[in-house]
Amino acid sequence: MRGASKTTYQLPIGPIHPALKEPVMFEFKVDGERIIDVDVKLGQVHRGIEWAGTRRNPIQILYLAERICGICSYCHPMSFALAVERAAGIEVPERAQYLRVIQGELERICSHVLWAGVAAHEIGFDSVLFLTWEIREKGLDLTEYLTGNRVTKGITMIGGVRRDITDDMVPKVKQALDYLKEKIDKVQHVFLNDKTIKLRCRDCGVLTKEDALKLCAVGPTARASGVKKDVRLDQGYFAYTDLDFDYVTPDIITGEVKGDVYDRVIVRLLEVKQSINLIEQCLEQMPKGDIVSEPKIPKLLATLKRVNGEGIGRMEAPRGEVFHYVRFTGTGNPYAWKVRAPTYNNILPWIPMLLDQQIADIPIVAASTDPCMSCTNRVAIISNNKRYIMNSEELHRLSIEKTRRLSI
């Protein structure tokens, strides 16, 4: 092995994540500036949510699941509701399925635009950060108008949704979508044509198709490496089976698939456009009808008390596949509940991505997989048997210095 005879440094970066200021722990073996080996340690923010779920009835768990993550706070209660509906045999009315699609795609837009700003910030391009977050404000205003709150929307109910989109609300939705469309074109122009971003991101943090398939990567991370995995298309849920769209891979724009950071940027920006298109299709095709299968809640609770079975629910969150498993035994509270956030599958691909890169590349490669860890750690660097902890400001400074070096 290359670094075995020379002295290798091991760097632990402690529980504040370099890219998203959430706690995660990595140990890098470093030879000079080059990374040789990576070890992942998780679990700093473990909150015992699955245990707390066994003591509550399913309607209370909806609000508990919402608070697992702030940015994908719509996907967790929705997949839980899918799992319960499949275990109990509850049918969701058609209008509710279309409404669920609209809310999900709106959340995807807000999340990807937030990510674009964070990625630009890690490179050192702060003016793009403010441009993208200005767009996101209009997206959040629309969310607040439709659901009453910007995050933790509280719109899920087992068997449907809680609020409707009436005909007098539709013009305002369309106005917001037009604004988003023209602004996203501007952001896409900046990201794809600016030379600094290309120099910094091309051939950096490559994940081959083989590795992505073996390590079961999900979401835009896998699609940027050429793997066609998307739960909305593969299996279908809600009303996605009626809509017209396709897998998003980087060869739509560039013509070839390399699997580096630049490809992931392309995939996410194209997905925002796809989401706006999907919402417009939904608004045209939405049928009239009920929004929830059982409006009287005591009756719903009584039905759920007699359920005896198990169910799974899978959804495509902005970061990948969210998975929930629920088992009932006839007491009303679930006997077992398992949650799997998409970032757990996307952590192991960090190891082949970060080999042979420089330390200053850690923030941008880590940020490119969009980790949403409500349980990540700091990165620890072990250097020459001396452990010293490098915090996020130092890594960020190194990343910006590298950008300046490249552009001069």
Binding site: N57, G148, L301
Partner: protein, 133 residues
């Protein structure tokens, strides 16, 4: 194009700021005297940003309509509602409330509703301004 952000940055200098402004630029040393002056018309403040309709603010409780069925206790996710057994009415602790409005939907006589108030902070979790009964 190498410097594609420069036209955007220059255009920003001519536009209005995007952020919503605070009521006044510097915090007043005594809020109550400041509010008296505003009411008399001596000081002008920036108008507050309106909340959307059906906003979920502080909960309001109509005691006379309540029948004591205890359905709201079953659905509250954070156990913020307490039942008073002698009176057969409830008490709500705002310090634990998550503002989900699930109790509003369950109530059979519609005695609970969410108002537009959101300025609710206090220094003591169980002070009287944070208990609704």
């Amino acid at each position: 194009m190498r410097f594609s952000m420069i036209p955007v940055v220059l255009a920003q200098m001519l536009k209005k700021p995007f952020t919503n402004k605070f009521p006044v630029k510097y915090a007043p040393s005594s809020p109550s005297r400041f509010l008296e002056k505003v009411e008399k018309g001596e000081i002008k403040i920036n108008p507050p940003v309106p909340v959307p309709e059906r906003f979920r603010g502080r909960i309001t409780y109509d005691k006379d309509k309540c029948i004591g069925c205890r359905l709201c206790l079953q659905v509250c996710p954070s156990e913020a509602i307490e039942y008073k057994t002698e009176e057969k009415k409830i008490r709500i602790y705002l310090a634990r409330c998550t503002f989900c409005a699930q109790c509003n939907e369950v109530c059979p006589v519609s005695c609970l509703s969410m108002s537009n108030e959101f300025l609710l902070s206090d220094t003591d979790k169980y002070s009287n301004s944070l208990i609704v009964e």
